[in-house]
Each structure stands twice: as structure tokens, then as C-alpha cells.
């Protein structure tokens, strides 16, 4: 024991090199897996960038801090899969910047909440959650139904995501404001264009129960009803996505 570290302590250069090596390990462990991201993110048929309305809803989700109580991550645990459905794929958050996995479930996981309940339930529940769910401690968000959705920032949001690697086309960015209104069916007849642009799994209807208005409620419910519904699991074999 004696000799070895004494030798090292007397050789400043070698000692500095070894400190550098040890200190860099943390960085290497964080960065190296990123080089394998190609085989971490699965091929997931149906996965697509969020439509402008869904994206606006996602921004409201983040703004209101929903992630503090709701996770969006069904783990590879039997209890999770039994209760919430198919475990989450990496591909399902590939267009999330940042992801909404969350780390705490005060409320239930929302990764596959889409289409589990009706729009009317979501609207009524978001307005007064504790009246609908026994034992709930969720605060109410009645103002969402009253607040018109501000669609002006959408093109810039899409542009920013495009720079972060989300494959929005320039045409999609240009049409963002129109597409947001079209998805909530507000006097805009661009449903076909919207579906052609984003895919058949875009849900087009009035979400908030106010057909003549485009509100933040429309956006948030559109986002929630989309969650976990994009990927077509019939086309995926377990062996192919085994990790």
C-alpha cells in the first residue's frame, strides 16, 4: 500500500491526468448513450409531430404545471401495464421538447389517457375535478373554457421545434394558425388539408362543447385525447422493440 500512492503523489503530471480521467467519467456516461439514440428510439408506425392545436394544448399543459402531479411514462412494470396499458416507447416522446415523463404521480399517469373518456367528461372534469372524482385533490381550471386560444405564437413554436429536430415542414409552419382552428372545427374548412398534412390519426371535432369558439380548453382536450393514441401497436412486434 505504502509505495503506490506515494509514487503517484510525487508525479504531478500523472496525478493530474488521472484526476481528469476520473472527473470526465460522469460526462462520458451521460454523453456516450446519445450516440446510440438511433437504436434507442423505436420505429413506431403512426408516430407524428403534434398538430398545432395539440401543441398549443401541450404548452398549456406545461404552463399549468400538470407534469408536477401527472406522469406520462408507463414503465415496464406489470402493475403499470395492467393499469395504464402498453408501456411507453421512447418514440412516443421523440417530439417532446422537453419530455413530460414526470417523476411523481399525485394523479394518474396520462400517457394513454387519449380517447379513454369523452370530451365532455374532460371539459367538466377540468372545470371542477373534485366534483367528479371522489378523493381527488386536483385544482379546477374553469378559466380554460373562457380564455380564447392565442394562436399567434404557434408558427414560432413550430419553427423552434423544427430547429430542435422535429420534422415540421415549412408549409406546416405557415399553416399553423389555420390548422389549429380547423382541428377544433371553428368555421374553417381545412380538415382534409390538416389530415393530409399530419396524418389520419388527427382527431378533428369541437372539443370544448362551444362550437363557435376556439378556447384553451379546445387545445388542452385535443392534446389529452391524442396522448398515447398515435402509435399503432398492432404493427409492432415485441421482439423488434425488445430493449
Amino acid at each position: 500500500m505504502d509505495g503506490k500512492h506515494a509514487k503517484l503523489e510525487r508525479n504531478g503530471i500523472a496525478f493530474a491526468m488521472m484526476i481528469l480521467f476520473v472527473a470526465s467519467l460522469g460526462g462520458i456516461f451521460e454523453i456516450a448513450p446519445l450516440f446510440t439514440i438511433e437504436n434507442t428510439v423505436e420505429e413506431a408506425p403512426g408516430m407524428r409531430p403534434y398538430s398545432p392545436l395539440e401543441l398549443a394544448g401541450r404548452d398549456i399543459y406545461v404552463r399549468e404545471g400538470c407534469y408536477a402531479c401527472h406522469s406520462q411514462m408507463i414503465r415496464t412494470l406489470k402493475s403499470d401495464v395492467d393499469r395504464y396499458g402498453h408501456y411507453s416507447l421512447a418514440a412516443e416522446s421523440m417530439y417532446d421538447h422537453p419530455h413530460q415523463w414526470g417523476s411523481k404521480r399525485t394523479g394518474p399517469d396520462l400517457a394513454r389517457i387519449g380517447q379513454k373518456y369523452s370530451d365532455a367528461w374532460h371539459v367538466a372534469h377540468l372545470k371542477a375535478p373534485r366534483e367528479f372524482v371522489q378523493g381527488s385533490v386536483m385544482p379546477g381550471y374553469p378559466f380554460l373554457s373562457e380564455t380564447p386560444l392565442d394562436t399567434k405564437p404557434l408558427p414560432a413554436s413550430l419553427r423552434a421545434l423544427q430547429r430542435a429536430g422535429v420534422p415540421y415542414t415549412d408549409a406546416q409552419i405557415e399553416a399553423a394558425v389555420r390548422d389549429a382552428a380547423a382541428q377544433a372545427d371553428v368555421d374553417v374548412d381545412f380538415e382534409d388539408e390538416l389530415r393530409e398534412s399530419y396524418g389520419e390519426n388527427v382527431q378533428v371535432r369541437d372539443f370544448d362543447g362551444q362550437p363557435d369558439r376556439l378556447t384553451e380548453m379546445d387545445a388542452l382536450v385535443a392534446y389529452l385525447q391524442m396522448l398515447g393514441t398515435l402509435v399503432d401497436f398492432d404493427q409492432i412486434k415485441t421482439e423488434e422493440i425488445a430493449r
Binding site: 446510440t36 395492467d82 380517447q115 367538466a124 425488445a242
Partner: protein, 290 residues
């Protein structure tokens, strides 16, 4: 340099001296270094057994060939097989046969209530009595008939849902779409109040009857008794989904209604849907049948 022995502690010094102060050359305690080397050995073992190191296009898979995703799929399958045993009658029999079986309720109701609370209670309430906008499932007033097969079908395809074969029922927005004039709407509301046995304006109700016959009867049937074929509710049984007051009727007539019941055939197994069907039949057996 020869290490100098410190007589007080019996240890060697580092050989340095600062103004007469010397430093003992104390090695790491043996227990610590054993623990350290043991940890490293365990880490190496785990690297070999389980997926560990990434390289350019892939990663080391490990000798065991373990995958958390395959493991959880197997566990879920095993759980499913176990439930198939526990709920054996629901696997093989259809709902009509199940409804005839004695003693099923005592055995299975507590277990099925978990399924109900997780999937149905959000809208219909924990005790299935419904709430405003979401119908009571314990009474005898059904939109699409309360036979076991029809309840099962509603659970499978939903109402106004995204399922291809969904049941479809829509109350048109008579006001918003200007299908009826304002006075006509006012009259027909009085008529509906009359036939549902509520306080009403008799003169207007009489005028409203004509409006009702011309516009409402095709779905709600003669005298508003409802029609199970198309899911149009009875207007005379005192059970209201959206409320039976003058104000709520006005809203219904103006904006229309198209309540959505999601379809469950994608989310729940055939057996689970049968379990819930029976659960609802049992819930309907309680109370006074109204």
C-alpha cells in the same frame, strides 16, 4: 527515501516535514478497500450478464439476453392467464348465460368493482348512479335497452365513439341551426314539461304538441316514451341525463346533445367487458327498480 517510523502510532510517515510537523502515511482501511474491489467485481459481473455498454451502433446485450420489455410482456401474459382462471365463467359463457347463473354476484362483484372504478367511475360515479351529463346505470331507464347483449354491445362499440360500428345518437341543435323558431321551441318545452308531469303553461303546451309531433316524435316516439332502437331517451320517465328543468331543456333544444360513450373493445378484453356488463346488471338489481 526510507520511510520513517512514527513511534507513537506505530505507522510510517510520508517523509515530508513542514516546520517539524510530519504526516502519517495512513492507508485506506482494509474493510473499505475490500468493499471497493468487491463492488467493482459485482459491476463487471453485471456488465457481463445484462445489457450494459453502448458502442457505435448497438450495445452489449449480456449473457442472460435479458430485456425488460420482454420480461414485462411475459409477466402481463401470466397475469392475464391467471385472471382467465379466476374469471373462468366470463371467458367461456356469453352474457345471457352469465346473467342466468346463480351465486355469480357474491363471488365476483368485489373484484369487478375495481375494473369499474378504474374505467367507468370517472363519468358514471363510483356507485354507478351517474351525474349531470352522464347517465345513471342503476335505474331501469336505458337508452339502448338493458338486456345483457345490448349493454355488452354498448360497452364494446360505445355511443358516438370513434369505433367504426359505434352506436350513433344525436339530438339536433334545433335552435342554433334554426330548425325551429324561438316561439316553437318555447312551446315544445312546455309540452315536454307537461308530459313529464312538471309544472307548465297549458296553452303553450297545447301548441307545443304539434311541434313535438312534427319534429320530435320520429325519434322520441309517440308521447315521448322514447325509442330503444335509436337511443332516444324517454321524456316521461323522470330520468334526465342533461336535466329536465325549463332552463336545461332550453339549452338542449338550442345546442343539441350528442353524448359520447367511449368504446372499450380496444382497451378491455372480451371477458372484462362481460364482467362489467354483469356488474351493471347487478347494480340495477339494487334499489327500487326506478
Amino acid at each position: 527515501m526510507k520511510p520513517e517510523l512514527d513511534e507513537t502510532s506505530g505507522q510510517h510517515t510520508t517523509g515530508h516535514e513542514w516546520n517539524g510537523i510530519k504526516e502519517l502515511n495512513t492507508p485506506m482501511p482494509k474493510a473499505f478497500s475490500i468493499w471497493l474491489w468487491l463492488s467493482i467485481a459485482v459491476a463487471v459481473l453485471l456488465w457481463l450478464l445484462y445489457p450494459a455498454w453502448p458502442y457505435v451502433t448497438h450495445y452489449t446485450g449480456g449473457i442472460l439476453g435479458y430485456s425488460s420489455r420482454i420480461a414485462v410482456t411475459e409477466q402481463v401474459e401470466a397475469g392475464r392467464a391467471q385472471r382467465a382462471e379466476t374469471f373462468a365463467p366470463f371467458e367461456t359463457m356469453d352474457v345471457a348465460e352469465l346473467a342466468e347463473m346463480p351465486n355469480l354476484r357474491e363471488t365476483y362483484e368485489p373484484a369487478i368493482s375495481v375494473l369499474f372504478r378504474d374505467n367507468c367511475a370517472a363519468c358514471h360515479g363510483r356507485d354507478a348512479v351517474g351525474q349531470i351529463n352522464f347517465p345513471n346505470l342503476t335505474d331501469d331507464h336505458w337508452l339502448w335497452s338493458g338486456t345483457p347483449e345490448e349493454i355488452e354491445y354498448t360497452l364494446q362499440v360505445g355511443i358516438n365513439s370513434s369505433h367504426d360500428d359505434t352506436r350513433y345518437a344525436e339530438m339536433p341543435a334545433f335552435g342554433l341551426n334554426e330548425m325551429l323558431e324561438q316561439p316553437e321551441i318555447k312551446d315544445v318545452i312546455e309540452y315536454v314539461l307537461q308530459i313529464s308531469g312538471q309544472e307548465h303553461d297549458a296553452a303553450k303546451a297545447q301548441a307545443g304538441e304539434t311541434v313535438f309531433v312534427d319534429n320530435c316524435e320520429s325519434c322520441h316516439n309517440e308521447g315521448g316514451i322514447g325509442e330503444l332502437e335509436n337511443g332516444a331517451p324517454s321524456l316521461i320517465d323522470g330520468a334526465w341525463i342533461y336535466g329536465g328543468t325549463r332552463e336545461s331543456l332550453a339549452e338542449t333544444l338550442k345546442y343539441g346533445r350528442a353524448g359520447v360513450m367511449p368504446h372499450w373493445s380496444d382497451r378491455l378484453s372480451a371477458s372484462e367487458i362481460r364482467q362489467l356488463t354483469l356488474y351493471l346488471l347487478w347494480a340495477g338489481q339494487d334499489g327500487n327498480g326506478d
